[in-house]
Symmetry: C2
Subunit: 232 residues, 2 copies
DNA sequence: CGACGGTTTTTGGTAGACCATAATACCCGA
DNA sequence: TCGGGTATTATGGTCTACCAAAAACCGTCG
């Protein structure tokens, strides 16, 4: 991303600032469900729990707000964002559009290295499924798509997809556990890779969209079942 | 967005918090070029200029950072983000994908009201061009696309497009001033509307993509000319 | 049981302090 | 004059304390 002219001998001290640490902690806590949707996030409580000052906490909350993980009704204080079923559908749709675009570009690029990388990622996913290691499944799947985007220099689209993804993370972890997903999921991704290998852009796009669509359908079912009819 | 059960008699005091005000001010200052790309944004200076405390300024900077308008090199302090030509291309591409998607959905919906609204927006754009009122051109164009997205309930995609758009705002204001743009721009948008009116989803999608593509091409030319060869 | 009124909680926002580090200016000796 | 080391300054990162106002809570009284 940064055009550092002078090679890779940079010292790169990964000085994480306290704020970044706190941000990750809170984000993970939300994603992992430690803080449940709708739960209030009281600034001073967070200060105590994180062991940092309000300055930090406020900045973190603001950041998460702009990520869509936290909502902030004025004069009420921040809370973990609720995921609307309509929003979830929209997010899956956006992912479909962008992942389809990336897959198409990959196919048109015709880079054997890329195909190899995707194959490897897919193998890892299958292995993780076999071991029932859902955490790794998610991780490797993320890696698969990261390659899909970044190998054709689409960092920004990848950023958007990541942003969207954190908001539906708990849905993701439910969809991958669904009956048959351990077979269907990789199979659909295989179709993407095959189309890319064949250099068939249109097919790659379609396959990517289909894969997201399948995940969306499962998520939809999960959400509908989970909240059959929220009373007024 | 919010399901307020009890009708529209809400008092709705638009109590903007200071922070929100400050955020808009700074964002506008960046978009309008008051703060130029690469310029340092010194926290204490901003405090003085905005008349708010450092807490607020820091939160605002963090927010703009996650919008991509500000970068924050560690140990250096925030500065207005530089727009890379590659990033600009990526952004136009994403807009193409999403606006194409929205246009297609609009066509498939077949809502006469929507068509009327788009026609009206387009008329306003033409009028603004005739008056050489570029500010209004931008505004009305935004309205056009907002309708395109929100009329088919794609608020999230619209949010993404808005996010992308602020980052290329100065490019936008240059492209619309380009020779012939006052004719070509509306003409291309007319094609979108026509396709929607005809209920032709594929054509609407194509027209939307073409329109973005044309803008991207101009932006590309502008950027390439502007920075012929940035030295190492 | 319900309305009223006060107390506590919590947010929005401010001021100012402290430290660490990066950049800059400066100064002194060879 | 040049080189190098040191003092200074600018700035971000972080903390604490404080205030006002909105909300939430709670207990009392009609």
């Amino acid at each position: 991303m940064i055009s550092s002219g002078e090679g890779a001998i940079r010292v790169e001290r990964p000085t994480k600032t306290l704020r970044e640490l706190a941000l990750e902690k809170v984000r993970d806590a939300i994603i992992s469900g430690h803080f449940k949707p709708g739960e209030r996030l009281v600034e001073r409580d967070l200060c105590a729990q994180l062991g940092v000052s309000r300055t930090i906490v406020r900045e973190v909350l603001r950041h998460l707000e702009s990520e869509g993980l936290v909502t902030n009704p004025t004069n009420k204080g921040p809370m973990v964002a609720l995921l609307d079923i309509g929003e979830a559908r929209q997010i899956y749709e956006i992912r479909g559009a962008l992942e389809g675009m990336a897959a198409k570009l990959c196919a048109e690029k015709g880079d054997p290295d890329l195909v190899a990388q995707l194959d490897a990622a897919l193998a890892s996913i299958r292995k993780a499924y076999a071991l029932n290691d859902m955490r790794s499944v998610l991780e490797e799947t993320t890696g698969f798509y990261e390659a899909l985007f970044t190998r054709v220099e689409r960092q920004i689209a990848w950023g958007v997809v990541k942003l969207m993804t954190v908001r539906i993370n708990h849905l993701r972890s439910m969809t991958i556990k669904t009956e048959g997903r351990s077979v269907d999921g990789p199979k659909q991704m295989q179709l993407i890779v095959d189309a890319i290998r064949a250099g068939n852009g249109a097919a790659a796009e379609r396959a990517a969209i289909d894969h997201v669509r399948a995940a969306a359908a499962i998520a939809d079912a999960v959400l509908s079942a989970q909240v059959p009819a929220a009373e007024s």
